[in-house]
């Protein structure tokens, strides 16, 4: 039973939270421009590390807000909690972010491309 420090409500039992999987998967700006393979990387492929993992949680039974945490999947240590839309601040978190293969993926390049190239959705800045 994890103790998760909700940025809005403070430390609470994990039973109050809903797990949201890997963080920093930005929706492509123009999905139609992606190949099936590149889109599948965005849609299906997820990290499953033994060790540090950047992931999303929502305080489903509390304030209902989403946020990010950096958690060690082997020890369940929560290294860092940070708001949705921001990147990790800790050194370990920055390293985990940078080391993710997704940083080099076609889907993420598409997502972070400047606006005005035909995409419908505005960039939400969730990266």
């Amino acid at each position: 039973m994890l103790l998760i420090d909700c940025p809005w409500c403070g430390p609470r039992d994990d039973a109050e939270f809903h797990y949201g999987g890997e963080a920093h998967i930005v929706r492509p700006r123009d999905p139609a421009a992606l190949s099936d393979e590149a889109f599948a990387e965005y849609l299906f492929l997820r990290q499953n590390p033994r060790g540090l993992h950047l992931e999303r949680w929502s305080h489903a039974q509390g304030c209902r807000r989403w946020f990010n945490i950096l958690r060690d999947t082997a020890t369940n240590e929560v290294v860092e909690v940070y708001p949705m839309g921001e990147r990790p601040r800790s050194e370990a978190g920055r390293a985990a972010y940078a080391a993710n293969w997704r940083r080099d993926s076609e889907a993420e390049r598409n997502a972070l491309a400047p606006a005005g190239n035909g995409g419908a959705a505005e960039d939400g800045g969730a990266a």
Binding site: L3, D13, D30, P31, A32, S58, R65, W66, M84, A120
Partner: protein
């Protein structure tokens, strides 16, 4: 006959003025307040308390507490009965009823004992080797195995007892109230920390209660315990939990504590158990240690018990395990037992010591007391049918591997055994820490901490009382400091002096008259009847990992989880493999530490409190009308309204007809409703629905389909634009919460720039759906201020007005294909609205209809139900609903996935209608569909029936199904093979009634 013949004349922490009557296997017996069931049985001379699991050998009480493998009893009777209770951990109370287990017809004569004679045929891995073929017999095997090998019996009906859950936060949780735990609580509590001290026994003190002659701070140990407990009770921030076992150690210092409040401590109506969920900033583990038996020939006879148990029964309970108690040990501590028994007038005919040259203060004291010490000897055989009557002892060779002389007999009626101590590292291991082997202590001790905890005392390998007190005190003081408490506390730990002890001699299997791997019963695990020979066999057969050994031989399984057997089992495995113990390793400890009552985990969340039940505002009316209900998620929905003598089919047929011929009314309040507001509300809907929402005019409604990003249908519903920046979204009844979460997720994580707010208003509105050709006439009577005419109030629009005197939103939408109005009023007016409709509708023959009729009506029109026609693998195209998927929007959630290659396959399962050859035949929902029937499975399945009803309006049965390449199969015949027959059907369009849609305007 003397009651309690084995009760000593004086001594013990029992109240001899408070006799308690109890029954064991029907026999009326007596004990005293302060007894456990085990100590009371011992006082009555009852040693044989059960039959062993596999060989059905008579077994006696082995231990004193949590470690007990043998003395498992069935407690109580009827539905309050509890199986597999350890007699050593059951507090005696007046009227207690207990029965032995795993014997038939009686404990004295047990048919299953024939397994003892057949044991050559029942080796390790027997089940795996024998019960394999033929496959069709597996169920029979399982039945027989369970009958033969069962321990206790589950109660026949629901548990009548009450259980509670407690939640606590503390600075320091101390697990265990022996010397180390008390010292820790004392140090932490004095510093001002919020402390919870939990101990599994009724009295704090642990080993100090059963150990004579110990002194702490110059006082008898029992007096120190009394003073310490009094000091802790007086400390405002200290919570004492006796009778409370720390059963689980989970992540982030979250621990569960199971508190027993039954028996002596229970009041009427009080919870029997309480499950504490404790979040501790620091944890001090002071769980103590379990004594290890020795592995020798025929070491399982009743009357053979652990040395600490023999001492504990005599000292703490004033009950001697025998009149002539021999002692067999490899260490000095067992001499305490010999001395304690001798001091209490019990004969100790022999101390058999595996060590060739035992020397130490305790050994000398025993010699000085005139006790016969046999150094370098082992017990090589035992005798006695239901209780030990004799041991044979013999000198051993210097390596301990063989007999070095002729055995000679020593008469005894009990044998106290000690093979050293095993620290209880269970909780430490559960916390994520890895135990490490300590060669000097011949034990696994805690390694590095994985959480904010520290082990102290015997569970940390401490061998002396002084060490226990010092470690506990230091751990408690440090935990207080770490949690910010620095109030003055005693500066020095409690002080104890005790005799120095010589080293122990590890000897894994004492030779018998036969080789230990070739005969004799050298039991390693008593509860699972695993012998040293079984461990040898498993090793020979290649089960060399300790985890494999456990599963193959079952050593370390069962209700005791090998508390007395694990180290002996893996040490013997190590000897066979020629490996060091650290290389053999240890199996993983998992919660709970001791068996826990399931009822405590359920607590009060049972019966009606298991899950909240949601009822609509009209619910009282449905109940008065005699409706049958069905669960839809947490909702109770009226299913159908049978009239006198009607079957379900008759009632539903009547309701379905009424909704198309006159006027019907459905309680639609349960549909999910989400209020969506904000400047970007329309843009947001445009992204989460497949169709276009930007140009929907205020006051108009639109059906929407929501996809997951993988293109699969997730939910559907009608959404109304209330004004430029405000929408009223409806969802499926079961999907409401999930849809709101879904919307929030997109708004917060992907599109935080959108100005949109989503709020659940499901509970805010009560909804009556009026349906049928007379629905306009009916509504007109109650709604004076809305022009209900076809042109003024077109299909898929919304008007606000007054219905039955209540402000209402009226939606002209339809889930039946009939003229239909859905009247939304604030929930508090729901029942009044319904009653007004029923009263005004009487002259139109208004008919309330339930969810079953609703399903038939929508199926007649071919409308899908998400979760019935869809299962998370179905796209709009699969449903034939391309019409709702925008071709012009550049993007929406799920759009890109719809053009993935896999989505374009022709042989995807597609929604079709099915008409059975026999119009009376109603296909079972979920039935598999095949092209060609073979005599027996397997046959290629091409789909399944999703919805199937009798349709009175069509005059026959109708069904919908998902079938591979279904749209290309129109007119083809398919078969639905069932257990006793095969139903043939024809593939048709999934629409059955009013194909031209002419009824929608009435």
């Amino acid at each position: 006959m003397n009651a309690q013949p084995y009760r000593l004349e004086s001594g013990g922490r029992i109240d001899r003025r408070a006799p308690l009557r109890f029954r064991f296997d029907g026999r009326a017996l007596e004990g005293y307040r302060g007894d456990t069931l085990a100590s009371a049985l011992i006082a009555n001379g009852v040693h044989t308390v059960g039959r062993s699991f596999k060989y059905h050998r008579p077994r006696g009480i082995l231990g004193l507490g949590a470690e007990e493998p043998n003395a498992l009893v069935q407690l109580g009777v009827g539905n309050a009965t509890e199986p597999n209770a350890r007699a050593t951990a059951v507090e005696l109370h007046d009227g207690l009823v207990a029965a032995s287990q795993n014997r038939w017809p009686s404990l004295a004569f047990d048919v299953g004992a024939v397994n003892t004679l057949l044991h050559r045929l029942v080796p390790a891995g027997f089940y795996y080797k024998t019960f394999m073929w033929p496959q069709s017999w597996w169920l029979k095997y399982e039945y027989l195995i369970r009958r033969a090998a069962g321990l206790g019996k589950a109660p026949p009906g629901p548990d009548p007892d009450r259980y509670d859950k407690m939640h606590a936060h503390c600075d320091v949780l101390v697990a265990g109230g022996g010397p180390a735990g008390l010292a820790a609580a004392l140090a932490a509590g004095a510093a001002g920390a919020r402390v919870v001290l939990a101990d599994e026994q009724a009295e704090f003190g642990g080993s100090l209660l059963g150990d004579p002659g110990r002194e702490i701070d110059g006082a008898p140990a029992a007096e120190w315990v009394r003073r310490t407990v009094a000091a802790l009770e007086a400390a405002p921030e200290v919570t004492l939990l006796p009778r409370a076992t720390v059963t689980g150690y989970y992540d982030h210092n979250y621990l569960t504590v199971l508190e027993r409040r039954d028996g002596a401590s229970a009041g009427a109506g009080a919870p029997r158990r309480r499950l504490w969920k404790v979040r501790a900033r620091r944890v001090v583990l002071a769980a103590g240690a379990h004594e290890r038996p020795l592995v020798f020939a025929d070491n399982d006879r009743p009357g053979i018990l652990l040395s600490s148990a023999a001492r504990g029964y005599a000292v703490r309970y004033g009950a001697t395990p025998g009149r002539r108690v021999a002692v067999f040990a490899n260490n000095d501590d067992a001499y305490r037992t010999a001395l304690a028994l001798a001091e209490r007038g019990v004969a100790v005919p022999a101390i058999v010591d595996l060590r060739p040259n035992p020397a130490g203060e305790l050994v000398e004291a025993a010699r000085a007391a005139g006790l016969a010490v046999h150094p370098g000897h082992g017990v090589v055989a035992t005798a006695g049918r239901r209780r030990i009557s004799r041991i044979e002892i013999a000198p051993l060779t210097s390596d301990g591997g063989a007999l070095a002389g002729t055995p000679r007999a020593v008469a005894c009626d009990a044998l106290a055994v000690s093979g050293g101590w095993t620290p209880a590292v269970h909780l430490f291991s559960q916390s994520g820490g890895k135990p490490r082997w300590d060669e000097a202590r011949d034990a696994f001790v805690p390694g590095a901490s994985a959480q904010a905890e520290v082990s102290a005392g015997a569970c940390n390998g401490a061998a002396t009382l002084a060490e226990c007190l010092e470690q506990g005190f230091a751990a408690g003081a440090e935990a207080a400091r770490a949690t910010g408490h620095s109030a003055a506390s005693p500066s020095a730990p409690p002080h104890a002096v005790e005799p120095a002890q010589g080293p122990a001699r590890p000897l894994r299997a004492v030779p018998g008259k036969k080789r230990p791997d070739r005969g004799d019963w050298h039991f390693v695990d008593f509860q699972n009847d695993v012998t040293a020979a079984d461990v040898h066999l498993a090793a020979r057969e290649g089960y060399r990992s300790v985890e494999h050994l456990k599963r193959y031989t079952t050593a370390g399984m069962g209700t005791d989880q090998g508390k007395t057997s694990n180290v002996n089992a893996l040490a013997i495995l190590g000897e066979v493999l020629g490996a060091e113990i650290p290389a053999v390793g240890h199996t993983t400890f998992r919660p709970p530490y001791t068996p826990a009552t399931v009822g405590a985990y359920a607590g009060r969340d049972i019966g009606p409190l298991f899950d909240p039940v949601r009822a609509t505002a009209m619910d009282p009316w449905h109940r008065r009308a005699g409706a049958r209900f069905e669960h839809v998620g947490q909702w109770m929905r009226a299913w159908y309204y049978p009239r006198d003598g009607e079957t379900m089919r008759q009632a539903v047929d009547r309701e379905v007809r009424a909704a198309r011929e006159g006027v019907g009314v459905l309680d639609a309040s349960t549909l999910g409703k989400i209020d969506i507001q904000g400047a970007d509300a329309a843009e947001f809907l445009n992204r989460v629905y497949t169709n276009n929402w930007l140009r929907l005019a205020p006051g108009r409604a639109r059906y929407g389909l929501m996809l997951k990003e993988d293109g699969m249908v997730m939910d559907d519903g009608v959404t109304v634009r209330l004004s430029e920046n405000r929408f009223h979204m409806t969802t499926t009844t079961g999907g409401a919460a999930g849809v709101l979460d879904w919307l929030e997720e997109w708004l917060q994580t992907e599109w935080p720039d959108l100005d949109v707010y989503a709020t659940s208003v499901t509970e805010h509105w009560a909804v009556a759906a009026i349906c049928g050709p007379r629905s306009r006439d009916l509504l007109a009577e109650l709604c004076p201020d809305i022009d209900l005419s076809r042109d003024a109030f077109p299909f898929m629009s919304m008007r606000e007005g007054t219905v039955a005197g209540v402000p209402a939103r009226v939606f002209r939408i339809s889930f039946t294909g009939e003229l239909s109005f859905e009247v939304n009023v604030p929930r508090r007016h729901g029942l009044a609205l319904w009653e007004a409709l029923m009263a005004a509708g009487e002259k139109y023959g208004i008919c309330p209809y339930g969810t079953e009729a609703m399903h038939v009506l929508r199926a007649e029109k071919g409308f899908i139900v998400v979760g019935q026609e869809t299962d998370g693998t179905v796209t709009p195209h699969d449903l034939g609903m391309d019409w709702i998927v925008s071709k012009t929007k550049p993007d929406f959630v799920g759009k890109r996935a719809l053009s993935r290659r896999d989505m374009l396959r022709d042989d995807r399962k597609q929604l079709v209608g099915l008409l059975t050859e026999d119009p009376e035949e109603v296909l079972p929902e979920g039935a598999q569909i095949v092209e060609a029937v073979r005599p027996r499975p397997p046959m290629a399945m091409i789909g399944h029936v999703t919805s199937s009803y009798n349709s009175p309006n069509c005059g026959r049965s109708i069904a919908m199904a998902l079938v591979k390449g279904g749209r290309a199969r129109m007119g083809e015949a398919v078969s639905v093979p069932l257990a006793r027959k095969t139903i043939r059907a024809r593939v048709v369009e999934p629409r059955f009634f009013d194909l031209e849609g002419s009824r929608i305007d009435g």
